[in-house]
Symmetry: C2
Subunit: 613 residues, 2 copies
């Protein structure tokens, strides 16, 4: 994969060739049995996409879909043009935004020296931003006169926005339920007015559990095009949001590419870019640098931002006796700043001002857990829960400014300590959506932390976490490549869906049932196509039984053709189709069995297929 190579100059086609699969911004679905379909909403420009799985029986199964226009054959993708601005009309028709001459991009936005010629993004392979997206005017939008243009503000006023209608259709819920949950702060709909390309989605414990995929270059490796490709690749497999955690050069440009091409909300940690602007010296950070960076990102269209405002000066010493100290990058940056200045965290002291900024763009807070545990030994300690108290306080302040809020959670937590996290978060944070990283349930399996964390993620989502931040197999070891991103996404889709089923989400189990029906009826192709990952399911089957007839065979490689438990079950079902023995008392059952036994014998004991080996 490409991570062996530090070269920054790769075209999109290079990247996809290396990954051995068609580029996800170019190709369609991984199987022709998936078809893009739309639910028509209450207005002509409100069409909610979903994935239709076509079955060999002629039936279809509708599944939630995050892949955006790329999987619509009618769409002609061009990463340099970006996606159509789906929400443009909805935003402008509300009449509460203005466009304005925004902040001028500066070389340092891309981590370049201040002496570089302005507007020329050296080392990125691009001339300048205008050349990248020539059709996109650089005039950003914001709430007129600082008005709150947030979904929360509308929801509180009783307004059902097109965005709410969209997610209601997407989740098979009523629009009023969507509005109520947002108004109560129990759900968020991240939708920056400057990211009209995104398809509305909702994060809240009453809705389907969502997953986030992190991407982002770093000082060590990866290229811009690679990150865009990873974004669309992640959404192809089911990522509901993507966080761009880039830390090296070209942060601004990378983000612009990602936003203009992303059908899902994009999250960031503005602190990372702010730190780049002060050449990595945490003590030189200031509210001004941070504020400038936040506005830069608000204007670009970032939908939610992780803000480590809960890392208070007095909490830092609480981490001194930990096994693994502070492992959150943002948390450690703010701790370093607090240490250097002996002042309270500037994100905390300027929190009201930050709210005033975010509300004008509808950027959602993701209040970062900078003091989350980095080992199971540190789970649920004083530092972690002290910060959680502060996050609860900040959440109330944010909502009072009509800013949407979710709360980030751990991290590394052994199974028996997970529920306490969820219960406390609900209580302290007024049921604001919880957004957790795993948690990892053991520290002993680097290389498999998608699994150590997938276990914790499924459990905490069942108990109420609204969004799960994925963990890839490379966690703790390196940067994820395309395969790792896919593995991380699929693992977290499993955790999220297992939780949806356990929570009794009305539409969740129908998917399992459709697949189990296909399995029981030996509809192999339907089984593959209903799988989270049809390619892998099909490949694994073909490793053992590659021949085409095996795909219609009424047996599988586990038992072979001679004896098949599914076939016997089918016989049992046929025998009891009239159910006279099923619910009767014992005498009826025995009588039923007797006649069925004779019937069975008369049929020539046809529970088996012809022996072919």
């Amino acid at each position: 994969m490409t991570t062996h190579d530090n070269t920054q100059q790769k075209s999109v086609s290079d990247v996809s060739e290396q990954a051995g699969t068609a580029s996800s911004t170019q190709g369609g679905y991984p199987t022709p049995a998936w078809r893009k379909a739309y639910h028509q909403g209450p207005r002509p420009d409100l069409r909610v996409p979903y994935r239709e799985v076509l079955l060999s029986t002629g039936g279809t199964v509708p599944l939630y879909d995050t892949s955006g226009p790329y999987t619509d054959p009618a769409f002609e993708p061009d990463v340099r043009r970006g996606l159509p601005p789906l929400r443009d009309a909805w935003i402008s028709q509300r009449g509460d935004v203005e466009d304005y001459h925004g902040r001028e991009p500066r070389p340092e936005d891309d981590g370049l020296k201040h002496t570089s010629p302005r507007g020329v993004v050296l080392g990125s392979g691009l001339d300048n931003l205008d050349a990248v997206f020539p059709g996109r005017p650089r005039r950003p939008r914001r709430g007129r006169d600082g008005a709150a243009v947030t979904q929360l503000a509308y929801a509180k006023r009783g307004i059902v926005t097109p965005e709410m209608e969209f997610v209601a259709l997407r989740e098979s819920m009523s629009a009023e339920t969507v509005r109520e949950e947002i108004a109560a702060g129990r759900a968020v709909l991240p939708a920056n007015v400057n990211h009209p390309e995104s398809e509305p989605m909702i994060i809240g414990s009453k809705f389907l559990v969502k997953i986030n995929a992190n991407i982002g270059n770093s000082a060590v490796t990866s290229s811009i095009e690679e990150e865009v490709e990873k974004m669309s690749w992640a959404t192809r497999w089911g990522a509901d949001t993507v966080m761009d955690l880039s830390t090296g050069r070209n942060i601004h440009t990378t983000r612009e590419w990602i936003l203009r091409n992303s059908p899902v909300p994009i999250g960031t940690v503005p602190l990372y870019q702010a730190l780049e602007k002060v050449d990595g010296r945490a003590e030189e950070l200031s509210w001004d640098v941070y504020r400038d960076t936040v506005i830069e990102q608000c204007e670009q269209g970032v939908d939610y931002m992780t803000v480590h405002a809960g890392v208070l000066l007095r909490y830092v010493p609480l981490t001194a006796r930990r096994k693994t100290g502070i492992v959150s990058r943002g948390g450690s940056i703010m701790a370093a700043w607090c240490l250097a200045h002996h002042e309270e965290n500037f994100l905390y002291t300027h929190f009201d001002e930050l709210c005033e900024i975010l509300r004008a763009y509808d950027v959602t807070y993701s209040l970062g857990d900078g003091l989350r545990p980095g080992s199971i030994a540190d789970a649920n300690d004083e530092a972690q829960f002290a910060e959680l108290q502060t996050l609860g306080e900040l959440g109330r302040i944010a909502r009072s400014h009509d800013v949407q809020v979710m709360i980030e959670g751990p991290g590394h937590v052994p199974m028996h300590k997970i529920k306490e996290n969820m219960d406390l978060q609900k209580e302290i944070c007024d049921e604001a959506p919880f957004y957790t990283l795993g948690p990892l349930t053991t520290d002993v399996a680097p290389g498999y932390d998608h699994i150590t964390s997938g276990i914790g993620a499924a459990m905490i989502a069942w108990w109420g976490t609204a969004m799960l931040c994925y963990v890839t197999p490379k966690e703790h070891l390196g940067l994820p490549n395309r395969d790792d991103v896919k593995t991380g996404v699929i693992t977290y889709k499993i955790a999220a869906h297992a939780a949806d089923v356990a929570k009794g989400h009305p539409s969740a189990q129908a998917w399992d049932d459709a697949l189990s029906d296909a399995r029981f009826e030996f509809r192999w192709e339907d089984q593959f196509n209903l799988a989270l990952d049809p390619e892998t399911a099909r490949d694994f089957h073909d490793e053992t039984l590659p021949a085409a007839p095996a795909k219609t065979a009424h047996f599988c490689s586990m038992c072979g053709p001679k004896f098949c438990s599914m076939k016997i079950s089918r016989t049992v079902m046929d025998l009891y189709a009239d159910a006279d023995g099923v619910n009767g008392d014992d005498a009826t059952v025995v009588a039923g069995m007797k006649s069925k036994s004779e019937e069975f014998a008369a049929s020539g004991h046809k529970v088996y297929l012809p022996v072919v080996d």
Copy 2:
């Protein structure tokens, strides 16, 4: 991998070459930092193996080890000679067994036509069994005059056997606790007197959670040598027991090879072989054929047997309205037999007789859940729990015969229905060890069922399941190859260890702590070597930062060299090493912070490494 090829004639070396790794019956550990070590027990011939992880600090970390003599450099493996009979003296010194002229192996034991020349195992590439293990006398052992030579019988009489001493040392428990748990039926120590090669291990909820790996050829693919190789490969990565589920030809010979080379207990489902003897016609099965097969396997040394005695005639109709009917192969065989004969399950009606056989060899029951759900839709239904009641009844009968018993459990169960399984099993089955297959928490991810089930496995083990039967990525799709076996084992080691930690097993978290210490101190090699899978951890790290110096670098590829949260945490710890601010009141803390801030500034803000990019 080899599964593309149906050829039955492969040598061990062929197999290992194809897998791209040294044969696990030949090579040592996957890293030179793992060293085989022994705890010396109370008698000279009682040495309990463990794995010692050598750290760069000079320290060591002891880990439970299942890999057997293969990883001892002093041992010269020869699959045709088998392992040394570790327990021979212990068994004979008890003075309660006799050897006798056992049942003669017959061609049909290997699934060959009755007309084949006796003793010549056609198609297996072997001349006959005597030639395979020339040094192994064919005289099996059994309890003299039918005496119960079971660990349960000894435990009930207050005897602490060498086997119990062995597991006590292995689990860091007292031998008396081991004896008590076995005597109470809450734990089993599967140890057939004819499998002296096995290293004693214990299965019970008070002990470390164990995992089982299934191997076995089938009518469709795989060879004998491949199965032996899979067995030692599985134990190399941590399988505590191995079930040989072979269903095709050469069942007897394959099992002989596996038993003579296995350092872990071997389980089987005798019904599979019995079915082969009647050419796959379930209705032709009889107690006689089954009994003959059980004795054949008892004499060979099988340590535990899955017996589907709970599939009662009256339960079969309860499955008729299920989504996926009966998915247990054994369960469906017995259901077919019941249907064909309209008689009660012969395993149930002959259960006392079966107990008398098993007690004479110390074969442990694994009472099979033939009616387990095969989809989450069928979980916790009447059929499943009706059978569980019968398994509880049979368990009591078995223990009254001094036969050890564990109870098998599901299967496919959504998260919110898992705990009910565990609670009911404890209540109904008198806390006999529960041995579950996963459970899978969703049906929608074929190709990833190690993960869908790893989630359920971790949860049910936390709640009390004593042994987890692994699920590989090929579940529902095909036969696992070496990579799949490893992935299944590692995934289940994660689930088991996460449960050990959550249950508060005294030795469990020390492993996590050692790895987290290494991680925090940037001891990369120690981090790899403490990992469940050092090879994968090292490979993943090297993909991003391949250069040798990166292994000693005080940063990682996620954040790059410029800024590192671990370094900042280290600074916090150093600053508060004297802890004067850590536990003080707010005033003390603030004062402490102030002086520390000055100290920090005076040090030149040395929280960062030199910027190298």
